[in-house]
């Protein structure tokens, strides 16, 4: 018995049926960004590295107090990331800028969840534990979470952190955008209320985007002419403006395309109404019927 020509075509037929129809039912992918969400602008030229936002964040979110809250020097020797105990951290970067006495000038940058407009984490979460709210906040509902950590794999900003040392009920930890506060009239995120230099500006995303663009225009030469987060991965709620290149303060260069677009398009064009599995089932059923009939062996096909 050999792998005959006939079998070859049978295989090809089945494979072809499942691949060929791929684009036909593909509906155009649409952004699910909320229309009038909030945003927050970080002006890196104004941040002095006081770390008050870290303190405020811990307080409003009932997290442990920040590591050496009063320290503004040696703590910066190490690059920190948000983790399961801190939703936001401020890092110091020397990017080669000098003051008038040729001393290196630091740039401070706050990191937290960017609350993407089309968040990868939300698309990834199999149980819908992460959702994008009308306010723009990307919310986490622990009662749905199974702890698979796919959201962490998906996030391009490497934000969600995990309580790795909790054996039974660990949670995903990340900035909440102070959802409870901002969903109230006039409410501000903890970090934005406290900033003494007004490096953080909270408001409707559309408004603060204009604020940012105005600042860039009114201070020619001071800023890099770019609002980080306006277009990155389809736009983020948090926006940054800076006088130093964004990559140098760990804000990564990212495509403008929302990252969930590719996988969601593939998933929906293949599986909406389960059309492709059903089609494959039909084709295989026909093949099975035929091939068993041809051989005229009417005994049971299973198990044996």
């Amino acid at each position: 018995m050999q792998f005959s020509r006939r079998n070859f075509f049978k295989f090809m037929g089945v494979a072809g049926a499942s691949v060929a129809a791929l684009p036909s039912s593909a509906r155009a992918w649409k952004s699910k960004a909320p229309p009038d969400s909030y945003g927050c602008l970080v002006d890196l030229t104004r941040c002095v590295g006081c770390r008050k936002c870290e303190e405020a964040c811990s307080e409003v979110n009932k997290l442990p107090a920040p590591e050496r809250a009063d320290c503004q020097c040696t703590i910066f020797d190490r690059k920190r990331r948000p983790d399961d105990k801190a939703y936001t951290v401020v890092n110091r970067y020397f990017t080669g800028k000098l003051d008038q006495f040729d001393n290196p000038l630091p740039t401070y940058a706050k990191v937290q969840c960017m609350h993407c407009q089309d968040p990868s984490c939300v698309s990834a979460c199999l149980a819908g534990a992460l959702t994008k709210d009308e306010t723009g906040a990307v919310k986490y509902d622990v009662s749905r979470c199974i702890g698979c950590r796919y959201c962490m794999v998906a996030c391009p900003f490497e934000i969600p952190a995990y309580e790795y040392h909790n054996p039974i009920t660990p949670k995903v930890m990340k900035c909440t955008f102070c959802y409870d506060r901002i969903s109230e009239q006039g409410g501000l995120p903890g970090c934005a209320t406290i900033c003494p230099t007004e490096a953080l500006t909270f408001g409707k995303r559309k408004t603060i985007l204009k604020v940012a663009q105005k600042r860039l225009k009114e201070n020619p030469g001071k800023y890099i002419d770019y609002v980080y987060g306006e277009k990155e991965v389809g736009g983020t709620s948090w926006l940054y403006i800076s006088s130093v290149p964004f990559e140098k303060v760990n804000l990564p260069a990212l495509p403008n395309k929302p990252l969930p677009k590719l996988s969601e398009t593939i998933q929906h064009s293949l599986f909406s109404y389960l059309w492709s599995p059903l089609a494959l089932f039909g084709v295989l059923g026909a093949v099975m019927y035929k091939s068993n009939k041809v051989q005229e062996e009417p005994q049971n096909k299973g198990g044996a």
Partner: protein
Amino acid sequence: MEHKASPLNKKFWTPGVLVMLVFMIAGAIAIIARFTGGIGYVTNLSNARPWGLWVGVDVATGVALAAGGFTTAALAHIFGRHYYEPVTRPALLTAALGYTFVVIGLLIDIGRSWAIWKPMFYWNTNSVLFEVAVCVAIYLNVLYFEFLPIVAEQFKGRVNLPGIMAVFNPLIEMILKIGDAILDKTMWIFIILGVVLSCMHQSSLGSLMLVAPTKLHPLWYTPILPLLFLTSAFAVGYPMVVFETTIITSSLKLDSEMNILAPLTRITIFLLGIYMFLKFGDMFVRGTYIYLLDGTYQTNSFIIEMLLGIMVPWIMLLFEKVRNSRKGVFTAASLIIGGVVINRINVFIVGYKSPLSDNGYFPAPGEIFVTLGLIATLMFIYRIIVTYLPVLQAPKEVSP
């Protein structure tokens, strides 16, 4: 097709089985540590590295290597090549056990194991992982149903519970009989369903990484990743059967079944060829061959995958002499399996790097013990089942 599977009549406690036992104990200790101290206590996982050995090997590789189940079912039952039926039972057993252990591996890896049922009620149809989870859950049950007739065959007509339990004998007997009769009529549904579900989640496992283009190395990140995962699952199915059958028949001194394995490898030339063509095509279309000489560990791992895991075994199988020798076929099959294992490890571990916060990763001893422990337990249970149930072909009853 007058083959007959039967239970084995062999000694159970061999030195090999004792070695398995040692690994099982080490794994059990690590699992206890995981559920008392947390994932962080036994693993090197971090916020930059949420998925490590357990997802890369226990889950992703496990699913790929269980592909023998649906590929042989498709060949023998759907495409009507009944000649291959003697290998469908062991392949089915491997798949059923393989998927059981994939789920056990998942339960250990996810943070809230007790919540694993939640996605069945809270759906996110945008999520690739949701689809994988649903398919694996259903497929596992399909595999159990497909295996049931084998259990029924062994016990039908001789259910004989001891002592007081004996009152249940007629009842169980009846359940077995009716269940077997119903399954006999409906088995074709399960067989096709199994193939469909396999195609779905084998490919979707590849889609998992599509959401993270900045983290997966361009040598592996391609929009056709799902197609590559699917075709490699097709390609590795029969080599897995060859691999298992050879090991089992030689360690238990049964017939080598070369008459079936040799033609299986002919199909493999074709299936592996498709995968190889797509792999190379993808590399040339996207121009990623520019990385090939940069000497990083990632590139080297890619080269090993392509060379030893795909090209060498494919060329080997082109030779009639290799295909007709037990050793040659076994070597080629092992290389193909190794290639798929390295591919899954590359996609989920080696090629994955969080550009902002990466801090390097190598699995901790605890992770390795759990993985080895699970593999040993799987082999142990396989051993028990083939000893007591009619899975393997009875010695000296060679089919046509």
